[in-house]
């Protein structure tokens, strides 16, 4: 429970800093994680497997997952979740770049690690259907309390969630 234990203003500062970093630093051209270079450290790391892509809503979720040190594949940062009420449609997210990437690199498995909210589940279901023709799709399945934000989940829970991922049908 990292961010949850911090005072509110500190969390606010942290996320402001992240947002500022994003506009100054720029994004990885491959996975859209925050990066000063055209390709981020994770994408450049040759020890990471190209067979798996883990899809997250934003860089904060990626950082939370990286802290578990369990996952050895690559990521794809969507930049948000589908939400008609907020005017966020799939075109505003890194969806087509994901499909292209999976198709081009013949990714063996895509793991959807989106929060189990209405928006997270909608995005997961939508992506699962699009990705089905290209690859195997699974999602982190349990261990996350309903309604909890992914970035707040503690490492143990996330590790369990990664192990317990299930194939989506």
């Amino acid at each position: 429970m990292y961010l949850l234990r911090q005072p509110e203003d500190k969390v606010q500062k942290f996320s402001n800093a992240l947002l500022a970093a994003r506009s100054q630093v720029g994004q990885c051209q491959k996975c859209f994680h925050l990066s000063a270079e055209p390709e981020c450290e994770i994408c450049r790391n040759l020890e990471r497997s190209e067979d798996q892509i883990c899809v997250v809503a934003d860089s904060r979720d990626l950082i939370a997952l990286e802290r578990t040190r369990e996952y050895k594949g690559l990521y794809h940062v969507l930049g948000g979740l589908i939400s008609p009420m907020d005017g966020i449609s799939p075109e505003l997210l890194e969806v087509s770049s994901l499909i292209k990437r999976v198709d081009q690199y013949q990714t063996k498995e895509v793991i959807l690690a989106l929060t189990p909210s209405v928006e997270g589940d909608t995005t997961s279901l939508y992506l699962a259907r699009l990705l089905k023709p290209f690859t195997q799709v699974s999602r982190i399945a349990y261990g996350l309390p309903v309604g909890s934000e992914l970035e707040y989940a503690d490492e143990v829970t996330l590790t369990r969630a990664l192990e317990g991922r299930r194939s989506m049908d």
């Binding site: 429970m1 449609s89 799939p90 209405v118 909608t122 259907r129």
Partner: protein
């Protein structure tokens, strides 16, 4: 403030804060208020937050912090709880306010809201289902508006993603609502019979807003609802509203076979509400092995002498009661025995 007697009578003019006190107790007991559902109303003007505190009979120290910006923090014995559900239990209560008296004759949404509160007593997790369903409904209808002119293929795949979730959540809501009514019905029927001196037979009829065919089984209902959602999309595009789902549920109260909403007299409708509340009180007590706290908000004075006495008889000595009214003389004499009286003017500023 301590409770020394079985009954606390809170007397004061309107706006003196009586209802706020009862609402605070209800929120502490159930994390919900049936008056507003809005935390803002419990926070003093100009303040950023409000803290509700209570010590329950089992010495549990309950503390709930409400913030104007939204969000709550629940503490039990000074420990911050990660799940608010862990807060429920020590202070179980059933609320009955003057607003409930319109239950039978008002629009269906009022009865759905009432039923939801009963289900939440039985299964607190149910509130997550309702929150989720309402969110789905709002997102889905916004989707129709946003994508009115875009390609129907794109819109349909998004609708599919929503419908899969809607069907599952709807199934779970329908099942729980039906189940709660079946548990409540026999108890309510006995009370109705007693309150009407054996003249009225009560049936609670659940009319679900989705067509639920066949066995009550999650998978078959879910698939059937998914198909119904899909089939009504043409109408939905034209009318702009979704016609399938628990938001179209209705509960019909039948007295001797006739809908009480249309055919019941005002007196019969009142008796019916009283019977439903007594049944809820009994059900909750049965379920948790402990009589819940009864909160009577401005309602007692609305009942005639006979119904006041029947209610008192039913409540007996088991239940602790918090009762609010504008004047002490509105109470039937028996209610004042073994009671602690609080003048509501003193509530302000505390």
């Amino acid at each position: 403030m301590g409770l020394t007697e079985k009954r606390l009578l809170i007397i004061g003019r309107n706006g003196a804060g009586k209802s706020n006190l009862l609402e605070a107790v209800e929120v502490l007991g159930s994390l919900r208020s049936h008056r507003s559902g809005n935390d803002q109303d419990l926070i003093n003007w100009g303040e950023k937050r409000a803290v509700l505190r209570a010590v329950a009979d089992n010495q549990d120290n309950l503390e709930l912090e409400l913030r104007r910006k939204g969000g709550r923090q629940a503490r039990r014995n000074e420990k911050l709880l990660a799940r608010q559900l862990d807060f429920l239990g020590p202070l179980r209560c059933v609320g009955f306010s003057a607003l409930d008296l319109g239950l039978v004759r008002q629009e269906p949404a009022v009865r759905r809201h009432w039923l939801d509160r009963v289900v939440m007593q039985l299964e607190p997790v149910y509130s997550d289902l309702i929150t989720r369903f309402n969110k789905l409904l709002r997102q889905r209808s916004q989707l129709w508006r946003n994508w009115a002119h875009s390609s129907s293929q794109e819109r349909n795949s998004l609708l599919d993603a929503f419908d899969v979730q809607m069907a599952l959540v709807s199934t779970r809501i329908h099942r729980r609502r039906g189940r709660a009514l079946r548990r409540l019905e026999p108890l309510a029927a006995i009370w109705q019979e007693r309150l009407s001196q054996g003249r009225e037979n009560l049936v609670l009829d659940y009319l679900p807003g989705s067509c639920l065919e066949g066995e009550e089984e999650e998978e078959s209902w879910r698939l059937s609802i998914e198909n119904q959602l899909m089939a009504q999309r043409v109408d939905e595009e034209r009318l702009g509203s979704c016609k399938i789902g628990p938001h179209r549920d209705e509960v019909e109260f039948l007295l001797n076979g006739l809908p009480a909403r249309r055919f019941g007299s005002a007196g019969q409708q009142r008796t019916l509400v009283l019977a439903l509340k007594l049944a809820e009180l009994e059900l909750v007590g049965e379920l948790y092995g402990e009589p819940p706290l009864l909160l009577l908000d401005d309602v007692l004075a609305e009942l005639d002498q006979m119904r006041q006495l029947l209610l008192l008889e039913a409540v007996g000595e088991d239940h602790q009661c918090l009762v609010s009214a504008t004047h002490l003389d509105l109470f039937e004499g028996e209610w004042k025995r073994n009671s602690q009286v609080l003048e509501a003017e003193f509530l302000m500023g505390k």
